[in-house]
C-alpha cells in the first residue's frame, strides 16, 4: 500500500520532552542520599591516599601496565580472575534476588543512568526553574534568556560529564599526576580518548537521551519482567481505591468543589475542601458514597515521573521503579487529609485479594530462597578465597616431550617446569624440595632458588632422576615450594613421574 506524501509516516517517533516536577518525600530523600553517597565514592575514591612500597600512593588503582589491581591492602593479579568471575556472578544473582523481592530497585535507586540523569535534572531545575518555568522556556522563542539558561545547563552538563570521564581514567593512573598531565597535554593518548568518549556518552545518555536509554537501549529493563512474580513488590496504583465505581474526580479549590466525572456518566458531586484529617475523612466518605475513587486526578504522579508515564495505567515496562510518584501522591493525599498509599509498593497478588493486607516483603518462595542460598554460598567462598590466598601462585608442569628419558646407566629422568608468581608486596626468594623420592633425586640445575619481584613470574626447570627400581614404584611425588624465611607459607604440588613400562 502506498502512503501519500501528506500522511507519510515518520521514520522514528519524535521524543516527547519530559519536564519533571520536583517532589519531596521518603523516596526522594532515599534517592538523594544514594546519589550523594555514590558520587562521594565515585569522585573521591581515586584521591584517597594509601602508602605503598612499589606503586603510587593511591588506595584504588587499576594498574593495567603492571597487570594488577591495587585495592587498598589487596593486590589482585590476572591469576585471580576467578574473583572477578565470582563477583560478577554474585552481582547477577543479587540482582535477581532483589528484583524478585522488590522489583527494579536497582533501576530506580542505584543504576548510574538513573543517578546521572537525576543529577542532570537537578542542574536543569536549578538553572531553569520548576516544571512550569521549564515548559514555558521550552515553548519560548530563542531569545537571550533562553540562550543563557539552556546554554548554561548544557555547559554544566558537559562539565560534569567531563569530570565523570576524567575520574574514570583516574582509577587507572595516579590521579594527581593525571590531572596535571591532562592539562599540560602530557597524558597518554588513551586517557584523552577515554575521557573524550565518556564525556560525550555521559552527556548524551544523561543529558539528551535520559529515559530513552532505559526504554530502548538497556536490555535489563526488558528482561526484568521475567523476574517478577505475583508476590513481588512493585510501585502500583491501587486502582480499586483510586477509581471507585465511577472513576477519578477532580477537586476544584475555591469555587466549592466540583467533581468531574471521568469514567461514568451523569453524576456531579460537590464537596468542600478541608485540610484537617477528620475533615478529609469525611470528605472521602462523601466521595466514596457517590461512587468516586480516591484519585483526585491532579496528575502530579505523571508530572514527577522521570520516564513520563502514568502509573495509573498499571505496571509497565517503562517504569524504573523510582518511587517518586509515591511521594507525589502521598503529598496530595496528605494535603486533602486522605490516607496515604494510593500509589504504593505492593504486590499484584495482594492488590487482587478481596481484602488486601498491608504490603510486606514476601521471601518465602522457592526462587527467592534459592537465590539467597546461592548468594550466601558464593559470598562465603569469595571471602574465604580472598582471606586464605597464598603469597604466591605456582604451576608445576611435567615436560611431556619426552615424558621420560632413559639415561646411559639405565636411570629414568623426568623433567618439570615450575612457574611461580610472587603475589606478595616485596621481593621473595623461593626454595624447592621434594617429598616421596630420595633426597638427591631432585636436580634444579643452575637455580637452586629463585628470587622474584612482586607481581612478576619466574621459571625454574627441575629434573628428577630415579634408578629403575625406585622409578618402577614411583607414580607420584610431592614438590614443595617454600618462600625463604616463611615456612608457614610453603605449598606442595603433587606431580607425576613417568617410566617406560608404565602406561597412564
Amino acid at each position: 500500500m502506498q502512503t501519500g506524501l501528506e500522511d507519510q509516516l515518520g521514520l522514528y517517533q519524535k521524543r516527547i520532552p519530559i519536564f519533571t516536577r520536583s517532589v519531596k518525600g521518603r523516596f526522594r530523600r532515599f534517592k538523594t542520599s544514594v546519589l550523594v553517597l555514590a558520587y562521594a565514592i565515585y569522585f573521591l575514591l581515586p584521591w584517597l591516599p594509601w602508602s605503598r612500597l612499589d606503586a603510587p600512593a593511591q588506595a584504588v588503582l587499576f594498574d593495567l601496565p603492571g597487570r594488577r589491581f591495587l585495592i587498598f591492602g589487596l593486590t589482585v593479579y590476572p591469576q585471580d580472575v576467578i574473583w572477578l568471575a565470582l563477583l560478577l556472578f554474585i552481582a547477577a544473582i543479587f540482582l535477581f534476588f532483589v528484583t524478585g523481592l522488590v522489583g527494579r530497585a536497582f533501576c530506580g535507586y542505584f543504576c548510574f543512568q538513573t543517578l546521572w540523569t537525576d543529577f542532570f535534572i537537578w542542574i536543569e531545575h536549578k538553572i531553569q526553574g520548576e516544571r512550569p518555568a521549564r515548559v514555558r522556556l521550552y515553548r519560548q522563542p530563542w531569545d537571550r534568556e533562553k540562550l543563557v539558561k539552556v546554554g548554561g545547563t548544557h555547559a554544566l552538563w558537559i562539565l560534569v560529564s567531563f569530570w565523570t570521564g576524567l575520574t574514570f581514567v583516574a582509577y587507572f593512573t595516579y590521579a594527581p599526576q593525571l590531572v596535571v598531565d591532562f592539562v599540560t597535554g602530557q597524558a597518554a593518548a588513551a586517557a584523552y580518548i577515554t575521557t573524550g568518549i565518556l564525556t560525550l556518552s555521559t552527556y548524551a545518555a544523561a543529558g539528551l537521551m535520559r529515559e530513552q536509554i532505559c526504554t530502548y537501549v538497556c536490555p535489563y529493563g526488558r528482561f526484568q519482567s521475567v523476574m517478577y512474580e505475583p508476590e513481588t513488590l512493585a510501585v502500583h496504583y491501587d486502582a480499586r481505591r483510586g477509581e471507585g465505581t465511577l472513576g477519578r474526580a477532580v477537586v476544584r479549590a475555591g469555587r466549592g468543589i466540583v467533581v468531574e466525572r471521568r469514567r461514568a456518566e451523569g453524576a456531579v458531586a460537590e464537596e468542600r475542601r478541608r485540610s484537617s484529617l477528620s475533615a478529609g475523612q469525611r470528605a472521602l466518605a462523601e466521595r466514596n458514597e457517590k461512587g468516586f475513587g480516591d484519585c483526585v486526578d491532579c496528575g502530579l504522579c505523571v508530572q514527577v515521573c522521570p520516564v513520563g508515564i502514568d502509573i495509573r495505567d498499571g505496571l509497565q515496562y517503562k517504569c524504573i521503579s523510582c518511587g517518586l510518584c509515591i511521594d507525589a501522591c502521598n503529598t496530595i493525599m496528605d494535603s486533602f487529609g486522605f490516607p496515604r498509599g494510593l500509589i504504593r509498593y505492593d504486590s499484584e497478588k495482594n492488590l487482587a485479594a478481596a481484602t488486601p493486607a498491608p504490603p510486606r516483603v514476601q521471601w518465602k518462595r522457592l526462587k527467592t530462597i534459592g537465590y539467597g542460598v546461592a548468594l550466601a554460598l558464593m559470598i562465603g567462598y569469595l571471602g574465604y578465597s580472598v582471606a586464605t590466598r597464598g603469597s604466591f601462585d605456582r604451576a608445576v608442569n611435567q615436560i611431556r616431550q619426552p615424558l621420560y628419558v632413559v639415561l646411559s646407566n639405565g636411570d629414568i629422568r623426568n623433567r618439570y617446569q615450575i612457574r611461580i608468581t610472587n603475589k606478595a608486596a616485596e621481593d621473595q626468594t623461593y626454595v624447592f624440595s621434594a617429598r616421596g623420592i630420595p633426597a638427591d633425586a631432585l636436580d634444579l640445575g643452575n637455580f637452586n632458588e629463585i628470587t622474584i619481584k612482586p607481581g612478576h613470574s619466574g621459571l625454574v626447570q627441575a629434573s628428577v632422576r630415579l634408578s629403575p627400581a625406585v622409578a618402577a614404584n614411583t607414580q607420584h611425588f610431592e614438590l614443595v615450594i617454600t618462600p625463604r624465611g616463611k615456612p608457614a607459607e610453603a605449598r606442595s604440588e603433587k606431580v607425576r613421574f613417568d617410566t617406560p613400562g608404565k602406561r597412564p
Partner: protein, 306 residues
C-alpha cells in the same frame, strides 16, 4: 483496489511521461539517509587519499600514508601502505626489542648466560622458538629425537660431546656419521657373533658362546670394531663413534624390540648394513652467530648438557 489507486495519485511523480502514460514515482529518501550517503562519500574520498585505492597504469594509486621498514637484505625501504610492509615494520620492531638480549648473549660466556635468571628466561623462550623453527623437524619438539634416525638431545649420551663448545661446533659445522656395512666383509655367522657381544656389553640377554667369539672378533683386525669404538667399546667422541656399553640406542631400535633374540637381531641389522645417514646440516650460514649461541645454551639445557 480503488483505495490503493486513490492513494497512489497523491504520490509525486518525476514529472516525465514515457510512451504517453508511463510515469515514475518519486519517493524521496529520508533526509538522514541522504546525509549518511554524503558522509560515506566524504569518507571514501578521505580513505582514497590516505590508503591505496585505484588501479593506475601498471600499479595503483598508493595514497599518502607510508611505511618505512628494513628488509631482509638490510635495505631501508619506504612504501605506500600495505599489509606486507606493515608486517615488515612489526618484524623490525620485534627484532629491535630482541636486540639487547641477543647483544648480551654474544657478550656473555655460556656458563654465565645459564646462571643469569633473566638471560635464562630469554634462552628458554627465544631458544624454544628457534629450536621449533629449525631443529624440531628432525629432533622433535622436545628434542627427544627418533630412534634409528635422529639422536635424542635430552639424554646424557652424546655422539660428539655435550659440552657447550662441542654443541656449538656441531651446530656450526654440522656432522656426518658413518659406519661401514660389515655384511660385505664378514660372513653371517661373524656378524651374529659381534651382535651377541655388543648385546652382552649392556646386559642384554645373549648367547654367551657367540659373544665370546664376538669379543675376539671385535678386537681383531678382521672386523676392527675397536678402531672407532675403542677396545673398551665406549666410543670416540672425536669421530662420533657411539658408546656401546650404555643403555642408550640411537641406530639399532633395541628398546622397541622384544626378547633377547629380537634385540640381538636389531643390532645385527646395523652391523651388517652399516650406516650412512647420520647427517646433521651445518647452520653457520643459515642462522646468525647469536642465534646459534642461543640454541647452544638451549640444547645444553634440554637435560643432557655436560
Amino acid at each position: 483496489m480503488s483505495e490503493q489507486k486513490l492513494q497512489s495519485q497523491t504520490v509525486q511523480t518525476t514529472g516525465h511521461a514515457w510512451d504517453g502514460d508511463l510515469q515514475e514515482y518519486n519517493n524521496p529518501l529520508p533526509a538522514w539517509w541522504v546525509y549518511t550517503f554524503y558522509a560515506t562519500v566524504v569518507f571514501a574520498l578521505v580513505y582514497w587519499t590516505i590508503y591505496p585505492s585505484w588501479p593506475f597504469g601498471k600499479g595503483w594509486i598508493g595514497g599518502v600514508s607510508q611505511i618505512t621498514y628494513v628488509n631482509s637484505e638490510g635495505e631501508t625501504k619506504t612504501h605506500s601502505w600495505n599489509t606486507r610492509a606493515l608486517l615488515m615494520e612489526d618484524l623490525n620492531q620485534a627484532a629491535a626489542a630482541q636486540k639487547p638480549y641477543f647483544d648480551k648473549v654474544s657478550a656473555m660466556p655460556y656458563e654465565q648466560i645459564a646462571k643469569d635468571p633473566e638471560m635464562n628466561g630469554f634462552i628458554l623462550s627465544a631458544g624454544k622458538a628457534l629450536f621449533a623453527d629449525n631443529c624440531a623437524p628432525c629432533h622433535q619438539a622436545g628434542g627427544q629425537g627418533v630412534v634409528s634416525f635422529f639422536p635424542n638431545l635430552t639424554d646424557d649420551d652424546w655422539l660428539y660431546g655435550g659440552s657447550y663448545d662441542t654443541i656449538h661446533e656441531t651446530l656450526m659445522g654440522g656432522r656426518r656419521g658413518y659406519m661401514p656395512a660389515f655384511g660385505e666383509v664378514l660372513d653371517g655367522e661373524q656378524v651374529d657373533q659381534l651382535a651377541n657381544y655388543v648385546a652382552s656389553l649392556s646386559g642384554i640377554e645373549h648367547d654367551a658362546g657367540k659373544a665370546a667369539a664376538g669379543n675376539v672378533l671385535f678386537h681383531s683386525d678382521t672386523a676392527a670394531c675397536y678402531y672407532c669404538h675403542t677396545s673398551e667399546a665406549t666410543g670416540r667422541k672425536d669421530m662420533g663413534a657411539p658408546n656401546l656399553t650404555d643403555n642408550i640406542w640411537l641406530w639399532a631400535d633395541v628398546p622397541a624390540a622384544t626378547g633377547g633374540e629380537g634385540k640381538v637381531a636389531a643390532i645385527r641389522g646395523v652391523i651388517a648394513n652399516g650406516l650412512n645417514k647420520g647427517v646433521m646440516p651445518a647452520w653457520s650460514g643459515r642462522l646468525s652467530p647469536e642465534q646459534i649461541k642461543v640454541l647452544t645454551v638451549y640444547v645444553h639445557e634440554l637435560g643432557g648438557g655436560q
